[in-house]
């Protein structure tokens, strides 16, 4: 809950209507994005993203597992978000749990594609080691360290950065195992395979305040929203997922307009994020 006086509310709404927000940004400008990779040495890949006061960490752990019988040619990916009460007192107990589930589901919807695996940002078939027997299970866990609005976009960016940072060990499968036997594997601790992250979409949340929409809203701006739409867009310009927040109804034509604005914004965000990730990776290699 954000405690704002009537004057402050008017100031935020008036500023957005005039295309100059409280922190001097325009409606479609992001806060500076700060990317650090390799922050959690225990994980196969990790990244920390800071956008203003919003601070999130995402880690990727890979474990060998067995593919499910219905999809023997695909690995498994699961995404969980944890909103710790250290970030905000309202995350304690059920409030945090609800937000965590909401964010996890939204991320799964945006990044993992349909049930059949079509349109997934992460290529599940690249995770298979031996078809029907061994595959990699990727566990993507995110932590909200500090929340100042726009969590979903930050988490999406953090997952993209963490996956770029991920190295999956090369696996040698011992020959000779046949039939129903589980083959023996040898996991290399020197050779790592990089993950292809070019297909992973970015998430753009458009928050509607009054008659205008803004990107990268702070908590204070979010408290004034009537509704928000999170759209994930991949490099091809295709929509990979869409979620709506906020109860107020929207005219279908406004939804379509928001989609086209989000597509436009996503191109800039995608390029900016890619260069930030590349810079972070280069910086890490040097040190």
């Amino acid at each position: 809950m954000v405690g704002l006086s009537l004057g402050e509310k008017h100031f935020i709404q008036g500023g957005i209507a005039q295309d100059i927000r409280s922190d001097g940004r325009k409606r479609l400008t992001y806060r500076p994005i700060n990317v650090e990779t390799g922050v959690i040495p225990q994980a196969n890949g990790s990244a920390r993203i800071r956008m203003g006061a919003t601070d999130v960490i995402s880690t990727v752990k890979a474990e060998l597992g067995k593919p499910i019988s219905l999809q023997p040619d695909k690995g498994k990916v699961s995404i969980y978000v944890d909103c710790s009460p250290t970030a905000a007192p309202m995350f304690e107990g059920r409030g945090g749990e609800e937000l965590s589930t909401e964010l996890s589901v939204a991320l799964q919807r945006s990044l993992l594609g349909g049930k059949s695996g079509a349109g997934a940002g992460i290529d599940l078939s690249s995770l298979v080691v031996v078809e029907g027997k061994i595959c990699w299970d990727l566990y993507i866990d995110c932590l909200v360290v500090c929340s100042d609005g726009n969590l979903l976009d930050a988490l999406g960016a953090a997952i993209k950065a963490a996956l770029s940072n991920t190295g999956i060990p090369r696996v040698q499968v011992a020959a000779g195992a046949s039939g129903d036997e589980q083959p023996e594997v040898d996991i290399s601790d020197e050779e790592f395979l990089q993950f292809d992250t070019s297909d992973i979409p970015v998430i753009v949340t458009l928050t509607k305040v009054g008659r205008h929409y803004i990107v990268d809203a702070t908590t204070e701006e979010e408290s004034q929203m009537s509704s928000a739409i999170s759209i994930s867009v991949n490099r091809k310009g295709h929509i990979c997922g869409l979620n709506k927040r906020g109860g107020a109804g929207l005219d279908p034509s406004i939804v379509l307009d928001m989609i086209s604005v989000a597509k436009h914004v996503s191109e800039q965000l995608m390029n900016k994020l890619d260069s930030e990730i590349a810079a972070a990776e280069a910086g890490e290699d040097e040190s």
Partner: protein, 257 residues
């Protein structure tokens, strides 16, 4: 349960999804594949609604779309819990649960943890919460049998139950989902189609106001395809709302007699 189609005992046929082998229900290149239940791509299942399914509740409704059967009861408005902060608008509390026997595999319904919050988000924009300050309205939904498109059926049924309870709303909320299978868009998918889908789109809207209260999309979509899908769903929603409205009218006319 009322309204079961008497001719075919559909509930007793074993669910095809329990088959272990992957049976192709459609061919990518085959334009004329038929849906498992023989419907056209843009044809919804027959909808059946009945209000007043639970006597103890302030309002309730039962809905049946093919094999999908849900029951929703609405309690309240009742006094909010003492621990809650003062609020000059009413609170809405939503919960969706599955019976253990609703799914082909027992207890699979617990996978849908997000349905409760989705139901809440779909309804809160339609209810005039200012009319019951300091109080809470509970909406409890139970999926008796999961036959695909569960969430849209729950949402539509819940708005009918709210209307039955006399909670003031801007409009009825109708919800329809759509699956993308290969190049085709199929509306109101059944469980089998949902398990093969490449993408899904769900719309909840208030048809008389022509406003979308909730929208989710999964899978990869191009903009023209989203346009087409949204239009299909919105049309279906307005037709669904007509059925819901006639059900309400029927209920009041029979009670007056």
């Amino acid at each position: 349960m009322a309204g079961k189609p008497g001719t075919t005992p559909t509930t007793y046929s074993p669910s095809p999804t329990t088959q272990k082998t992957r049976r192709p229900i459609f061919n990518e290149n085959d334009v004329d594949w038929v849906r498992p239940d023989g419907r056209g791509f843009h044809q919804c299942r027959p909808a059946f609604f009945r209000t007043g399914a639970v006597n103890a509740a302030s309002g309730s409704a039962y809905a049946e779309f093919g094999n999908t059967k849900v029951i929703v009861s609405v309690f309240g408005p009742r006094e909010s819990k003492k621990a809650m902060m003062y609020s000059d608008i009413g609170r809405l509390n939503c919960s969706v649960s599955y019976t253990t026997f609703a799914t082909p595999v027992r207890g699979q319904g617990s996978e849908h943890k997000d349905f409760s919050s989705m139901l809440h988000k779909s309804l809160e924009g339609a209810i005039i919460l200012e009319t019951f300050p300091k109080t809470t309205v509970d909406v409890f939904a139970l999926v008796l049998e999961s036959g695909g498109s569960d969430l849209p059926v729950v949402i539509s049924c819940a708005s009918l139950a709210l209307a039955d309870a006399g909670i003031l709303m801007h409009d009825l909320v109708a919800s329809v989902s759509l699956s993308c299978l290969g190049k085709n868009l199929v509306i109101d998918p059944i469980l089998e189609e949902e398990s093969y889908q490449d993408g899904a789109l769900l719309i909840t809207c208030m048809p008389s106001r022509y406003e979308v209260t909730q929208l989710t999309v999964t899978g990869e979509w191009s903009t023209p395809k989203i346009n087409e899908g949204m239009q299909l769903c919105l049309d279906a929603c307005s037709k669904l709302a007509k059925i819901m409205r006639s059900c309400l009218k029927e209920a009041t006319s029979t009670s007056q007699e």
